[in-house]
Symmetry: C2
Subunit: 216 residues, 2 copies
Protein backbone atom coordinates (compact mmCIF):
# COMPACT_ATOMS: atom_id res chain seq x y z
CA UNK A 1 0.00 0.00 0.00
CA UNK A 2 1.60 3.23 -1.11
CA UNK A 3 1.25 6.55 0.63
CA UNK A 4 -0.56 7.80 -2.45
CA UNK A 5 -3.70 6.17 -1.05
CA UNK A 6 -3.63 8.10 2.18
CA UNK A 7 -6.35 9.85 4.07
CA UNK A 8 -4.89 13.22 3.18
CA UNK A 9 -6.54 13.07 -0.22
CA UNK A 10 -9.91 13.33 1.40
CA UNK A 11 -9.06 16.58 3.12
CA UNK A 12 -7.87 18.15 -0.10
CA UNK A 13 -11.28 17.90 -1.68
CA UNK A 14 -12.48 20.83 0.38
CA UNK A 15 -15.21 21.94 -2.02
CA UNK A 16 -17.08 18.74 -1.43
CA UNK A 17 -19.57 19.17 1.36
CA UNK A 18 -20.50 15.53 1.30
CA UNK A 19 -16.99 14.29 1.93
CA UNK A 20 -16.82 16.84 4.74
CA UNK A 21 -20.00 15.54 6.34
CA UNK A 22 -18.86 11.97 5.85
CA UNK A 23 -15.70 12.73 7.73
CA UNK A 24 -17.58 14.28 10.63
CA UNK A 25 -20.51 11.89 10.86
CA UNK A 26 -19.51 8.68 9.16
CA UNK A 27 -18.59 5.46 10.86
CA UNK A 28 -15.18 4.18 9.90
CA UNK A 29 -15.04 0.57 8.81
CA UNK A 30 -12.23 -1.55 7.44
CA UNK A 31 -12.55 -4.19 4.76
CA UNK A 32 -10.09 -6.86 3.70
CA UNK A 33 -9.04 -7.26 0.08
CA UNK A 34 -11.93 -8.64 -2.00
CA UNK A 35 -14.37 -8.32 0.88
CA UNK A 36 -17.88 -7.28 -0.07
CA UNK A 37 -18.96 -3.84 1.15
CA UNK A 38 -22.50 -4.15 -0.10
CA UNK A 39 -24.26 -6.63 -2.38
CA UNK A 40 -26.28 -6.40 -5.55
CA UNK A 41 -29.93 -6.07 -4.41
CA UNK A 42 -29.07 -4.67 -1.00
CA UNK A 43 -31.24 -1.68 -0.13
CA UNK A 44 -29.47 1.61 -0.90
CA UNK A 45 -29.43 2.67 2.72
CA UNK A 46 -25.94 4.11 3.13
CA UNK A 47 -23.47 6.41 1.46
CA UNK A 48 -19.79 5.54 1.51
CA UNK A 49 -16.49 7.36 1.13
CA UNK A 50 -13.12 5.78 0.53
CA UNK A 51 -10.51 6.79 3.10
CA UNK A 52 -7.60 4.51 2.22
CA UNK A 53 -7.30 1.79 -0.39
CA UNK A 54 -9.71 1.45 -3.26
CA UNK A 55 -13.12 0.07 -4.16
CA UNK A 56 -14.74 -1.46 -7.25
CA UNK A 57 -18.45 -1.71 -8.06
CA UNK A 58 -19.52 -4.84 -9.90
CA UNK A 59 -22.46 -6.23 -11.77
CA UNK A 60 -22.64 -9.97 -12.37
CA UNK A 61 -24.52 -11.92 -15.00
CA UNK A 62 -25.98 -15.31 -14.12
CA UNK A 63 -23.26 -17.11 -16.07
CA UNK A 64 -20.47 -15.26 -14.28
CA UNK A 65 -19.71 -12.53 -16.80
CA UNK A 66 -18.74 -9.46 -14.85
CA UNK A 67 -18.92 -5.75 -15.56
CA UNK A 68 -17.14 -3.29 -13.33
CA UNK A 69 -19.02 -0.04 -13.00
CA UNK A 70 -16.34 2.15 -11.53
CA UNK A 71 -13.23 2.26 -9.39
CA UNK A 72 -13.13 4.59 -6.39
CA UNK A 73 -10.09 6.17 -4.80
CA UNK A 74 -9.56 7.92 -1.45
CA UNK A 75 -11.76 10.99 -1.12
CA UNK A 76 -14.37 9.67 -3.51
CA UNK A 77 -17.97 8.94 -2.66
CA UNK A 78 -19.64 5.71 -3.76
CA UNK A 79 -22.83 3.75 -3.21
CA UNK A 80 -24.99 6.61 -4.50
CA UNK A 81 -27.16 4.54 -6.76
CA UNK A 82 -30.50 5.96 -7.80
CA UNK A 83 -32.93 3.09 -7.15
CA UNK A 84 -34.07 1.60 -3.84
CA UNK A 85 -31.75 -1.37 -4.39
CA UNK A 86 -28.14 -1.62 -5.46
CA UNK A 87 -27.71 -2.90 -8.98
CA UNK A 88 -23.96 -3.07 -8.54
CA UNK A 89 -22.19 -4.60 -5.57
CA UNK A 90 -19.08 -3.02 -4.07
CA UNK A 91 -15.87 -4.79 -3.05
CA UNK A 92 -12.54 -3.74 -1.60
CA UNK A 93 -9.75 -3.67 -4.19
CA UNK A 94 -7.25 -4.10 -1.37
CA UNK A 95 -7.41 -3.80 2.41
CA UNK A 96 -9.10 -0.48 2.87
CA UNK A 97 -10.89 1.93 5.15
CA UNK A 98 -14.29 3.32 4.34
CA UNK A 99 -16.57 5.86 5.98
CA UNK A 100 -20.20 4.81 6.11
CA UNK A 101 -23.15 7.10 6.70
CA UNK A 102 -26.89 6.41 6.75
CA UNK A 103 -28.65 8.32 4.01
CA UNK A 104 -31.34 9.27 6.46
CA UNK A 105 -28.66 10.87 8.64
CA UNK A 106 -27.76 13.09 5.72
CA UNK A 107 -31.27 14.45 5.69
CA UNK A 108 -31.38 15.01 9.44
CA UNK A 109 -28.03 16.76 9.46
CA UNK A 110 -27.97 20.55 9.82
CA UNK A 111 -26.88 22.68 6.88
CA UNK A 112 -29.23 20.53 4.94
CA UNK A 113 -29.22 22.30 1.63
CA UNK A 114 -25.48 22.23 1.24
CA UNK A 115 -25.51 18.51 1.81
CA UNK A 116 -28.31 17.91 -0.61
CA UNK A 117 -26.30 19.80 -3.19
CA UNK A 118 -23.30 17.66 -2.46
CA UNK A 119 -25.22 14.43 -2.99
CA UNK A 120 -26.58 15.92 -6.17
CA UNK A 121 -23.07 16.82 -7.25
CA UNK A 122 -21.77 13.32 -6.63
CA UNK A 123 -24.69 11.77 -8.50
CA UNK A 124 -24.04 14.05 -11.45
CA UNK A 125 -20.41 13.00 -11.46
CA UNK A 126 -21.53 9.39 -11.54
CA UNK A 127 -23.78 10.04 -14.50
CA UNK A 128 -21.04 11.88 -16.34
CA UNK A 129 -18.62 9.01 -15.88
CA UNK A 130 -21.15 6.42 -16.92
CA UNK A 131 -21.99 8.39 -20.07
CA UNK A 132 -18.33 8.68 -20.96
CA UNK A 133 -17.90 4.99 -20.39
CA UNK A 134 -20.67 4.16 -22.86
CA UNK A 135 -18.62 5.53 -25.76
CA UNK A 136 -15.56 3.64 -24.60
CA UNK A 137 -17.36 0.31 -24.28
CA UNK A 138 -19.42 0.66 -27.42
CA UNK A 139 -17.02 2.12 -29.93
CA UNK A 140 -13.39 2.03 -28.89
CA UNK A 141 -10.84 -0.60 -29.88
CA UNK A 142 -8.96 -2.64 -27.28
CA UNK A 143 -5.92 -0.42 -27.62
CA UNK A 144 -7.96 2.76 -27.25
CA UNK A 145 -9.76 1.35 -24.24
CA UNK A 146 -6.55 0.55 -22.41
CA UNK A 147 -5.00 3.89 -23.36
CA UNK A 148 -8.12 5.73 -22.12
CA UNK A 149 -8.00 3.76 -18.90
CA UNK A 150 -4.38 4.62 -18.19
CA UNK A 151 -4.93 8.28 -19.06
CA UNK A 152 -7.98 8.42 -16.81
CA UNK A 153 -6.26 6.76 -13.87
CA UNK A 154 -3.24 9.05 -14.23
CA UNK A 155 -5.53 12.07 -14.38
CA UNK A 156 -7.41 11.06 -11.26
CA UNK A 157 -4.33 10.23 -9.20
CA UNK A 158 -2.36 13.21 -10.38
CA UNK A 159 1.04 11.88 -9.30
CA UNK A 160 4.01 11.18 -11.54
CA UNK A 161 4.07 7.46 -10.80
CA UNK A 162 0.58 5.97 -10.85
CA UNK A 163 -0.39 2.95 -8.78
CA UNK A 164 -3.05 0.56 -10.01
CA UNK A 165 -4.68 -1.08 -7.02
CA UNK A 166 -6.78 -3.35 -9.25
CA UNK A 167 -5.90 -6.66 -10.90
CA UNK A 168 -5.75 -7.27 -14.64
CA UNK A 169 -9.06 -9.09 -14.34
CA UNK A 170 -10.62 -5.98 -12.82
CA UNK A 171 -9.26 -3.82 -15.63
CA UNK A 172 -10.55 -6.29 -18.20
CA UNK A 173 -14.03 -6.33 -16.66
CA UNK A 174 -14.02 -2.55 -16.53
CA UNK A 175 -13.11 -2.21 -20.22
CA UNK A 176 -15.14 -5.12 -21.59
CA UNK A 177 -12.04 -7.12 -22.58
CA UNK A 178 -10.19 -10.26 -21.42
CA UNK A 179 -7.12 -10.24 -19.21
CA UNK A 180 -4.98 -11.50 -22.07
CA UNK A 181 -6.00 -8.64 -24.33
CA UNK A 182 -5.39 -6.09 -21.59
CA UNK A 183 -1.97 -7.57 -20.99
CA UNK A 184 -1.07 -7.52 -24.68
CA UNK A 185 -2.14 -3.91 -25.08
CA UNK A 186 -0.13 -2.88 -22.03
CA UNK A 187 2.92 -4.61 -23.46
CA UNK A 188 2.31 -2.88 -26.76
CA UNK A 189 1.97 0.57 -25.18
CA UNK A 190 5.14 -0.06 -23.28
CA UNK A 191 7.18 -1.18 -26.29
CA UNK A 192 6.05 1.93 -28.19
CA UNK A 193 7.50 3.91 -25.25
CA UNK A 194 4.17 5.58 -24.45
CA UNK A 195 4.05 4.30 -20.89
CA UNK A 196 6.53 2.51 -18.67
CA UNK A 197 5.74 -0.06 -16.01
CA UNK A 198 8.03 -0.18 -12.99
CA UNK A 199 6.11 -3.19 -11.74
CA UNK A 200 2.86 -4.60 -13.06
CA UNK A 201 0.90 -2.39 -10.66
CA UNK A 202 2.73 0.87 -11.15
CA UNK A 203 3.35 2.94 -14.26
CA UNK A 204 4.47 6.31 -15.53
CA UNK A 205 3.47 8.14 -18.70
CA UNK A 206 6.38 8.72 -21.06
CA UNK A 207 4.50 10.31 -23.95
CA UNK A 208 1.37 12.11 -22.86
CA UNK A 209 0.54 13.34 -26.37
CA UNK A 210 0.64 9.90 -27.92
CA UNK A 211 -1.41 8.47 -25.06
CA UNK A 212 -4.12 11.12 -25.40
CA UNK A 213 -4.20 10.61 -29.15
CA UNK A 214 -4.70 6.88 -28.69
CA UNK A 215 -7.33 7.40 -26.04
CA UNK A 216 -9.27 9.33 -28.72
Amino acid sequence: MSLAYAFEDLREDGRDGLAEAMRRLGVRMTFAKDEEIYAQEDPTEFVYAVVTGGVRTIRLMSDGRRQIGEFYYPGEIFGLEPGPEHRYSAEALCDCEVLVLKRSALRAFADDEKLERAVWQATRRELERAQGHLLLLGRKTACEKVASFLADMAGRRGAEAVDLPMSRQDIADYLGLTIETVSRMLTQLQSSKIVEFASCRQFRIRNQGALSRLAA
Copy 2:
Protein backbone atom coordinates in the same frame (compact mmCIF):
# COMPACT_ATOMS: atom_id res chain seq x y z
CA MET B 1 -46.41 8.23 -37.60
CA SER B 2 -48.59 5.92 -35.56
CA LEU B 3 -51.01 7.02 -32.90
CA ALA B 4 -48.83 5.20 -30.41
CA TYR B 5 -46.58 8.27 -30.37
CA ALA B 6 -49.32 10.70 -29.44
CA PHE B 7 -49.39 13.42 -26.85
CA GLU B 8 -51.74 11.39 -24.68
CA ASP B 9 -48.79 9.44 -23.36
CA LEU B 10 -47.52 12.53 -21.65
CA ARG B 11 -50.72 13.04 -19.74
CA GLU B 12 -50.75 9.47 -18.47
CA ASP B 13 -47.50 9.96 -16.63
CA GLY B 14 -49.27 11.86 -13.89
CA ARG B 15 -46.81 11.07 -11.15
CA ASP B 16 -44.16 13.01 -12.93
CA GLY B 17 -44.15 16.61 -11.72
CA LEU B 18 -41.55 17.60 -14.23
CA ALA B 19 -43.55 16.48 -17.23
CA GLU B 20 -46.49 18.33 -15.69
CA ALA B 21 -44.52 21.56 -15.39
CA MET B 22 -43.10 21.14 -18.86
CA ARG B 23 -46.61 20.92 -20.22
CA ARG B 24 -47.69 24.09 -18.45
CA LEU B 25 -44.60 26.22 -18.92
CA GLY B 26 -42.65 24.80 -21.82
CA VAL B 27 -42.46 26.22 -25.30
CA ARG B 28 -43.53 23.83 -27.98
CA MET B 29 -41.14 23.42 -30.88
CA THR B 30 -41.16 21.13 -33.88
CA PHE B 31 -38.14 19.50 -35.46
CA ALA B 32 -37.80 17.76 -38.80
CA LYS B 33 -36.38 14.25 -39.05
CA ASP B 34 -32.63 14.26 -38.31
CA GLU B 35 -32.67 17.90 -37.26
CA GLU B 36 -30.40 18.80 -34.38
CA ILE B 37 -32.15 19.83 -31.15
CA TYR B 38 -28.97 20.72 -29.32
CA ALA B 39 -25.31 20.14 -30.07
CA GLN B 40 -22.42 18.54 -28.24
CA GLU B 41 -20.75 21.34 -26.24
CA ASP B 42 -23.88 23.52 -26.13
CA PRO B 43 -24.48 24.89 -22.64
CA THR B 44 -26.99 22.80 -20.71
CA GLU B 45 -29.49 25.61 -20.47
CA PHE B 46 -32.78 23.89 -21.19
CA VAL B 47 -34.77 20.83 -20.29
CA TYR B 48 -36.78 19.04 -22.96
CA ALA B 49 -39.75 16.70 -23.14
CA VAL B 50 -40.84 14.66 -26.12
CA VAL B 51 -44.47 15.25 -27.11
CA THR B 52 -44.72 13.35 -30.38
CA GLY B 53 -42.12 11.45 -32.34
CA GLY B 54 -38.80 10.41 -30.84
CA VAL B 55 -35.33 11.68 -30.05
CA ARG B 56 -31.84 10.21 -29.92
CA THR B 57 -28.81 11.54 -28.05
CA ILE B 58 -25.45 11.08 -29.76
CA ARG B 59 -21.79 11.29 -29.06
CA LEU B 60 -19.38 11.46 -31.98
CA MET B 61 -15.70 10.58 -32.16
CA SER B 62 -13.40 12.61 -34.38
CA ASP B 63 -13.23 9.83 -36.97
CA GLY B 64 -17.00 9.54 -37.21
CA ARG B 65 -17.65 6.62 -34.89
CA ARG B 66 -20.93 7.26 -33.17
CA GLN B 67 -22.40 6.17 -29.84
CA ILE B 68 -26.07 6.70 -29.13
CA GLY B 69 -26.71 7.45 -25.48
CA GLU B 70 -30.44 6.92 -25.33
CA PHE B 71 -33.70 7.03 -27.25
CA TYR B 72 -36.57 9.11 -25.90
CA TYR B 73 -40.27 8.58 -26.46
CA PRO B 74 -43.32 10.79 -25.87
CA GLY B 75 -43.66 11.75 -22.22
CA GLU B 76 -39.96 11.34 -21.53
CA ILE B 77 -37.60 14.07 -20.38
CA PHE B 78 -34.20 14.55 -21.97
CA GLY B 79 -31.33 17.02 -22.03
CA LEU B 80 -30.74 16.61 -18.29
CA GLU B 81 -27.00 16.20 -18.47
CA PRO B 82 -24.98 16.89 -15.35
CA GLY B 83 -22.20 19.17 -16.57
CA PRO B 84 -22.39 22.77 -17.79
CA GLU B 85 -22.06 21.57 -21.40
CA HIS B 86 -23.77 18.81 -23.31
CA ARG B 87 -21.53 15.85 -23.99
CA TYR B 88 -24.14 14.29 -26.19
CA SER B 89 -26.07 16.08 -28.92
CA ALA B 90 -29.78 15.42 -29.51
CA GLU B 91 -31.52 14.85 -32.84
CA ALA B 92 -35.05 14.13 -33.99
CA LEU B 93 -35.59 10.48 -34.94
CA CYS B 94 -38.50 11.58 -37.10
CA ASP B 95 -40.54 14.75 -37.43
CA CYS B 96 -41.41 15.51 -33.86
CA GLU B 97 -42.71 17.97 -31.30
CA VAL B 98 -40.74 18.85 -28.21
CA LEU B 99 -41.44 21.02 -25.18
CA VAL B 100 -38.53 23.22 -24.15
CA LEU B 101 -38.10 24.89 -20.78
CA LYS B 102 -35.27 26.99 -19.39
CA ARG B 103 -33.68 25.33 -16.41
CA SER B 104 -33.71 28.66 -14.60
CA ALA B 105 -37.48 28.79 -15.07
CA LEU B 106 -37.72 25.51 -13.20
CA ARG B 107 -36.12 27.12 -10.20
CA ALA B 108 -38.33 30.19 -10.33
CA PHE B 109 -41.49 28.15 -10.67
CA ALA B 110 -43.75 27.76 -7.66
CA ASP B 111 -44.04 24.42 -5.93
CA ASP B 112 -40.31 24.42 -6.13
CA GLU B 113 -39.57 21.37 -4.09
CA LYS B 114 -41.80 19.10 -6.07
CA LEU B 115 -40.07 20.19 -9.23
CA GLU B 116 -36.64 19.73 -7.82
CA ARG B 117 -37.65 16.22 -6.86
CA ALA B 118 -38.84 15.60 -10.37
CA VAL B 119 -35.57 16.70 -11.93
CA TRP B 120 -33.82 14.55 -9.39
CA GLN B 121 -36.04 11.63 -10.32
CA ALA B 122 -35.34 12.05 -14.02
CA THR B 123 -31.61 12.28 -13.44
CA ARG B 124 -31.72 9.11 -11.38
CA ARG B 125 -33.55 7.36 -14.17
CA GLU B 126 -30.82 8.48 -16.57
CA LEU B 127 -28.13 7.10 -14.31
CA GLU B 128 -29.96 3.83 -13.90
CA ARG B 129 -30.29 3.39 -17.64
CA ALA B 130 -26.68 4.29 -18.27
CA GLN B 131 -25.52 1.78 -15.66
CA GLY B 132 -27.63 -0.94 -17.21
CA HIS B 133 -26.26 -0.08 -20.61
CA LEU B 134 -22.68 -0.53 -19.38
CA LEU B 135 -23.27 -4.22 -18.81
CA LEU B 136 -24.90 -4.59 -22.20
CA LEU B 137 -22.09 -2.86 -24.08
CA GLY B 138 -19.28 -4.45 -22.13
CA ARG B 139 -20.34 -8.02 -21.74
CA LYS B 140 -23.26 -9.08 -23.91
CA THR B 141 -23.05 -10.83 -27.28
CA ALA B 142 -24.57 -9.35 -30.42
CA CYS B 143 -27.60 -11.59 -30.10
CA GLU B 144 -28.12 -10.71 -26.45
CA LYS B 145 -27.75 -7.03 -27.21
CA VAL B 146 -30.41 -7.08 -29.88
CA ALA B 147 -32.74 -9.20 -27.76
CA SER B 148 -32.28 -6.81 -24.82
CA PHE B 149 -32.98 -3.88 -27.09
CA LEU B 150 -36.23 -5.34 -28.41
CA ALA B 151 -37.36 -6.35 -24.93
CA ASP B 152 -36.59 -2.89 -23.61
CA MET B 153 -38.40 -1.09 -26.41
CA ALA B 154 -41.42 -3.34 -26.03
CA GLY B 155 -41.42 -2.73 -22.29
CA ARG B 156 -41.27 1.02 -22.68
CA ARG B 157 -43.94 1.26 -25.36
CA GLY B 158 -46.25 -1.22 -23.73
CA ALA B 159 -48.33 -1.91 -26.81
CA GLU B 160 -48.79 -5.26 -28.55
CA ALA B 161 -47.24 -4.10 -31.81
CA VAL B 162 -44.11 -2.06 -31.20
CA ASP B 163 -42.94 0.67 -33.58
CA LEU B 164 -39.26 1.42 -33.93
CA PRO B 165 -38.85 5.04 -34.95
CA MET B 166 -35.09 4.65 -35.35
CA SER B 167 -33.05 3.32 -38.26
CA ARG B 168 -30.85 0.21 -38.19
CA GLN B 169 -27.85 2.51 -38.04
CA ASP B 170 -29.26 4.10 -34.90
CA ILE B 171 -29.82 0.72 -33.32
CA ALA B 172 -26.30 -0.36 -34.25
CA ASP B 173 -24.78 2.76 -32.72
CA TYR B 174 -26.87 2.27 -29.60
CA LEU B 175 -25.72 -1.32 -29.15
CA GLY B 176 -22.10 -0.94 -30.27
CA LEU B 177 -22.59 -3.12 -33.36
CA THR B 178 -22.75 -2.66 -37.15
CA ILE B 179 -25.98 -2.41 -39.13
CA GLU B 180 -25.25 -5.72 -40.81
CA THR B 181 -24.88 -7.53 -37.49
CA VAL B 182 -28.09 -5.96 -36.17
CA SER B 183 -29.90 -7.03 -39.30
CA ARG B 184 -28.58 -10.58 -39.09
CA MET B 185 -29.57 -10.92 -35.44
CA LEU B 186 -33.07 -9.61 -36.18
CA THR B 187 -33.43 -12.14 -38.97
CA GLN B 188 -32.21 -14.85 -36.63
CA LEU B 189 -34.64 -13.88 -33.87
CA GLN B 190 -37.44 -13.87 -36.40
CA SER B 191 -36.61 -17.28 -37.85
CA SER B 192 -36.52 -18.76 -34.36
CA LYS B 193 -40.07 -17.39 -33.97
CA ILE B 194 -39.17 -15.24 -30.99
CA VAL B 195 -40.28 -12.01 -32.62
CA GLU B 196 -42.12 -11.17 -35.80
CA PHE B 197 -41.62 -8.13 -38.01
CA ALA B 198 -44.66 -6.81 -39.85
CA SER B 199 -42.41 -4.29 -41.56
CA CYS B 200 -38.82 -3.45 -40.78
CA ARG B 201 -39.94 -0.76 -38.36
CA GLN B 202 -42.66 -2.65 -36.52
CA PHE B 203 -42.53 -5.88 -34.56
CA ARG B 204 -44.41 -8.05 -32.13
CA ILE B 205 -43.06 -10.46 -29.51
CA ARG B 206 -44.07 -14.05 -30.13
CA ASN B 207 -42.17 -15.73 -27.33
CA GLN B 208 -41.61 -13.46 -24.36
CA GLY B 209 -39.89 -16.13 -22.28
CA ALA B 210 -37.30 -16.93 -24.92
CA LEU B 211 -36.67 -13.24 -25.54
CA SER B 212 -36.11 -12.51 -21.85
CA ARG B 213 -33.83 -15.50 -21.57
CA LEU B 214 -31.73 -14.27 -24.48
CA ALA B 215 -31.66 -10.74 -23.11
CA ALA B 216 -30.00 -12.30 -20.04
